[in-house]
Symmetry: C2
Subunit: 321 residues, 2 copies
């Protein structure tokens, strides 16, 4: 179970190896919303995303139990985080990736010493089924990218802990939601420590697993694949993360592909930072004219920067701001 204690343990154990990323004011959004708006720069985290936090903590916990080799499934940030964390700890990570994996990311994982297996399937869900089967055949413990208490505590919990230290008068926290590891852990800590603080969850309109899960009253674990630059927002929500999130949020924002891509270009133009589509969703929400104005200091979590150069070229070409 996630708990304040588990989040504190995660923060203590990953500190030193993980960067305490800065918060940076966004003057344009502050002007637009009439309150101080801050960006929490997890795009500047080691490995390029918050996922390094959960990867490191879960490998530390595995190592505590005498485990030296683990398996996971990810073509993206979690895989990169696991490859990095395994190298830090002298452990072996076996990473199963979809056949659609970006060559730069694949190369990065291999350079960090991971044992990478490419699937026959282009999609994540089928690759994960195969990955779990293979892990079990090889006798390797399988670590989920998001639906895991350690991952939730370290990914979302420690980010929120830093945000509350950096902006103690936080009133609104705006988070991207994919599987729910970041948003679940962060919402948990914020609602425990500052229950009046508002939590805004941002999803892709084409893959709104959390909203659908709220309507259904249970976690929707899989969603049809969509074409998007925000791959981290695609797919179902986790069982554990849904249980945490369902009573700990104030609003859901659903953003479309065009808004997300425009927000990526906007962030390059105005902050000279690359953020991936899954991160840009929180910027896109605040840029909407109908976005409800927060009453006090607001923090947007920019979750990562791992995006192919060709995608950046495409997004800039389509959005000359």
């Amino acid at each position: 179970m996630i708990s304040i204690q588990l989040i504190h343990e995660a923060a203590a154990r990953i500190s030193g190896a993980i960067r305490k990323t800065p918060v940076e004011e966004c003057p344009i959004l502050s002007d637009l919303l009439g309150v101080p708006v801050w960006l929490k720069l997890e795009n500047e985290q080691i490995t390029g995303s918050f996922k390094a936090r959960g990867a490191l903590f879960s490998l530390l916990k595995a190592k505590d139990s005498g485990i030296q080799r683990v398996a996971t499934c990810s073509a993206g940030n979690h895989g990169k985080g696991m490859a990095w964390a395994a190298r830090q700890l002298g452990m072996q990570a076996t990473i199963f990736v979809p056949s659609s994996v970006d060559p730069t990311k694949l190369d990065g994982m291999i350079r960090m010493g991971a044992d990478v297996h490419t699937s026959r399937f282009p999609g994540y869900d089928e690759t994960e089924h195969w990955a779990k089967h293979e892990s079990s055949r090889l006798g390797l413990p399988f670590i989920s990218a998001f639906d895991d208490d350690w991952v939730m505590a370290a990914n979302g919990g420690t980010v929120a802990k830093e945000v509350l230290e950096q902006i103690p008068d936080l009133e609104t926290l705006v988070l991207p939601v994919g599987g729910g590891g970041l948003s679940g852990g962060a919402s948990y800590l914020v609602k425990e420590l500052k229950p009046d603080c508002r939590i805004i969850l941002c999803q892709h309109q084409g893959s709104p697993a959390f909203q659908k899960s709220m309507e259904a009253g249970e976690a929707i674990l899989e969603m049809p694949a969509i074409e998007t630059v925000a791959g981290g927002l695609e797919g179902g929500i986790g069982r554990l993360t849904f249980e945490v999130l369902k009573t700990r949020y104030d609003a859901i924002e659903l953003l479309n592909e065009e808004e997300i891509q425009r927000a990526m270009a906007w962030t390059i133009k105005n902050h000279q930072m690359i953020i991936e589509g899954s991160a840009a969703v929180v910027v896109a929400a605040c840029l909407r004219s109908e976005f409800r104005k927060p009453k006090g200091p607001t923090v947007l979590v920019l979750s990562g920067r791992n995006v192919a150069a060709s995608t950046i070229a495409h997004v800039l070409h389509g959005n000359r701001l």
Copy 2:
């Protein structure tokens, strides 16, 4: 005069407000050069470049003398740094900018509360002449962007101090050279504390003021304007910075426009980071097949990320890596 003591003073006074930026290993360059290669991420510095360090320290020193208003000339990183530092300290900065100023940068300075005056001239040198004249007419002390001991100590000195703490077995430091504030201060500290450490200075082939100054035996203060994405490398070297640099370097690398733009695209592709042309020159040097292999841990200072979105689009379009 620059001194170890002045650098320590600068570091102490700016700490807290300034980010101690991380160093991040570059696995591809490490493989290529056969030694650990690290990037010092001043592109992640507040205001997007190392210039915030010198701006803050020089305003703190000015404030010590009872000064509340200062003037400077810059269309780029120094101007942005001064606008930020003045706001931090409750001071007023008057910034003179060339007519060719990028609108995003102009907007950024104004949003931070600076008093910005746009020149009739598109070029820097003519704008600086006018700016010095205007400052004197208005009775405002003029702070140089680079040719100043405070600026040198804080810009280059404090960056090098952090690098030596982060990579104590540093063998080679690779620096961009424009006016010489960063490279002068950094070379000074490194050669005082670790005289065997190699200093590689990187300039634009089309504007090699430092090399020409070495040939001439005196500082060349102005150079003809060139068309480049590396505006910070263009123009003459400072008198004070030349005196420091001339006995404190081991090699000069001159990079052409194509190499610099390719290095910008390379950094986006491989590190998902925007760096400006003036920063990319150090990456470009290491990517050359004829670059002399360092004997031990090597640090490249990535000086900043302030580049227009249109330039990024252009660079990515021309370099599909």
